[in-house]
């Protein structure tokens, strides 16, 4: 039963990783920006939600506030950090360092105002009930499942059926051609940041109400998103989501074999192995590197 219990926990963590990593992969796929400040978006959304709820807002309004701030931060990074850099140089590492720096600064800012410890709010949803003998599942698991399914359905519909979604996919394949056809690459990349940042919000809110959130989560989320994007195959949103789920499972299942302290390292062993032996990832195109 322990394995099943761990698997359930792993799926829950993995679903949240999947959403966040999909956001990262979407931004990277469309704009080629390695947006490692994505982790900062995550904690920003989490703390915004927390603060709004503590101010007495209804949870739906609080989620709106979190969404708004996350999207604003994404747009801010796109317009004021990445675009100026890409204008004059745009080497991969320059963008990466700038994003990293912004992530650190945002994390420090949040730590300054809210302290470095765990913050959480208790909601009735997290009380676990025994579903099968020995297997405990909290209602929040089903909420997470529903949210993930709905969000993914919406995102895939958007990317496959709408004009803007098509534009996003075109942007990743050939920005020059896109411009030649009179579409605005600027507007599309802003759209990628809006969507990608919004995808970090559900994970942030659900993490806040289940395990609690802390400023140091920024680095963890960044690492997981990055690992999932690489393992899933750079450029593939579906791959990133799948890999996020997989990493969440691995992180929880290894606990049955080794001590908990090693569980995070396990996901990085997976990452390292993928880079060495299968750099194109689960769903990447061959020769994509």
């Amino acid at each position: 039963m322990l394995l099943t219990q761990l698997a359930v926990a792993g799926i829950q963590t993995g679903m949240l990783y999947a959403l966040t990593a999909a956001g990262f992969a979407l931004i990277f796929g469309a704009t080629r920006v390695f947006h490692v400040a994505h982790g900062a978006t995550f904690i920003l959304a989490g703390y915004a939600f927390l603060e709004a709820v503590q101010l007495g807002l209804h949870w739906s309004l609080a989620s709106g506030v979190a969404l708004l701030l996350a999207v604003a931060f994404g747009l801010f990074m796109d317009a004021l950090v990445y675009r100026p850099i890409q204008k004059h140089e745009g080497s991969f590492f320059t963008v990466f360092v700038a994003s990293f720096g912004a992530g650190i600064a945002m994390q420090a800012l949040i730590q300054f105002f809210f302290g470095g410890g765990f913050a959480t709010i208790s909601v009735p949803l997290t009380r676990a009930a025994e579903v099968l003998p020995g297997l405990y599942i909290a209602p929040v698991f089903w909420v997470a499942l529903a949210v993930v399914v709905v969000v993914f359905a919406a995102v895939s519909l958007f990317l496959e059926r709408t004009h803007a979604g098509l534009g996003l996919r075109a942007l990743s394949e050939n920005p020059e051609l896109l411009r030649a056809y009179g579409l605005s690459a600027r507007r599309l990349s802003a759209l990628a940041f809006v969507l990608g940042s919004a995808l970090a919000v559900p994970g942030a809110i659900l993490t806040t109400v289940t395990t609690g959130i802390q400023p140091a989560d920024s680095a963890h989320v960044m690492l997981v998103s990055l690992a999932a994007t690489v393992v899933g195959g750079i450029g593939s949103i579906r791959g990133a989501a799948l890999a996020g789920l997989f990493l969440g499972l691995v992180e929880n299942l290894v606990v049955s074999v080794v001590d908990t302290q090693w569980s995070q390292a396990a996901s990085f062993v997976v990452l390292f192995a993928f880079i060495l032996f299968r750099p194109n990832g689960l769903m990447g195109r061959a020769g994509a590197r």
Binding site: V81, T94, L109, F112, A265, F272
Partner: protein
Amino acid sequence: MIAYLVNLATLIAIFGIAATSLNLLIGYAGIFSIAHAMFFGIGAYVAAQVALTVSPDFLVAALAAAVVAGALSLCLALPALRVRGEYFVAASLGLQMMASTIFAEAHSLTGGVGGLVGIPPARILGFDVASPDAFLVLALACLAVTLAVVRTLMRGSFGRSLMALRDSESAAEAFGKDVRALKTLVVVVGCFFVGIAGALFAFHMAFVNVESFTLEQSVVLMAMVIIGGAGTLTGPLVGVIALLSLPAALSFLPFIPATEIGTVQQFIYGALMTALMIFRPSGIVGLSRGAR
């Protein structure tokens, strides 16, 4: 006050070596490693173990530290040979995270979270160099040697081949450069020197634990190189001085509560990294020299 300055100068020398060695990878070879604190840590742990169990002679400990760090750097060379860009950054991140866990959990080698304590004072060929002044001289001497070696290497054919590699790997290969050998060699040399820095750090602190060798430390080292100016000899040193003097400068500002200095400092170097990338991607020193 004098004691404080001597301590600061010693740390500047130690991190100067570390940043200079990282600059070999980032600035000259275009290998963007975020796992440098891992090798700094390996050097420090090896030196500490040697000092505790074999001999407190600095030369023995530092040599052992540098050799082990250099040898283990093949873990980093392996992905460097296979992948580039984002993939390599991700691989080095993965390596750094694994190393932090091992530092914290391998109790028999690293003392776990508690670390290794009671590292004996450094000696060189029987002479005591444990006094702060003598140790500062030792650290500065190591820094001078490192700078001299890096300068000589980068002026010679090795350095030029590396820079060719950084600017265009395929062009370097087309001109008959052995890309694999060059990359492996530069990673080994870089990690060899950071191993020495680690040994100095272990003797200076007389205590090592995982706190000093985490991802944050790797980022700080990277920030030192980038802020100072990657690919220049003096850039990393300027970056080290700037970032290490920052906490001291901040503690003179009365309106920042003492407990928040660490956070404010983090904010400043985060913001500084971003701002520099937007306005001066070549760093403080790179700016006066124009394009690197």
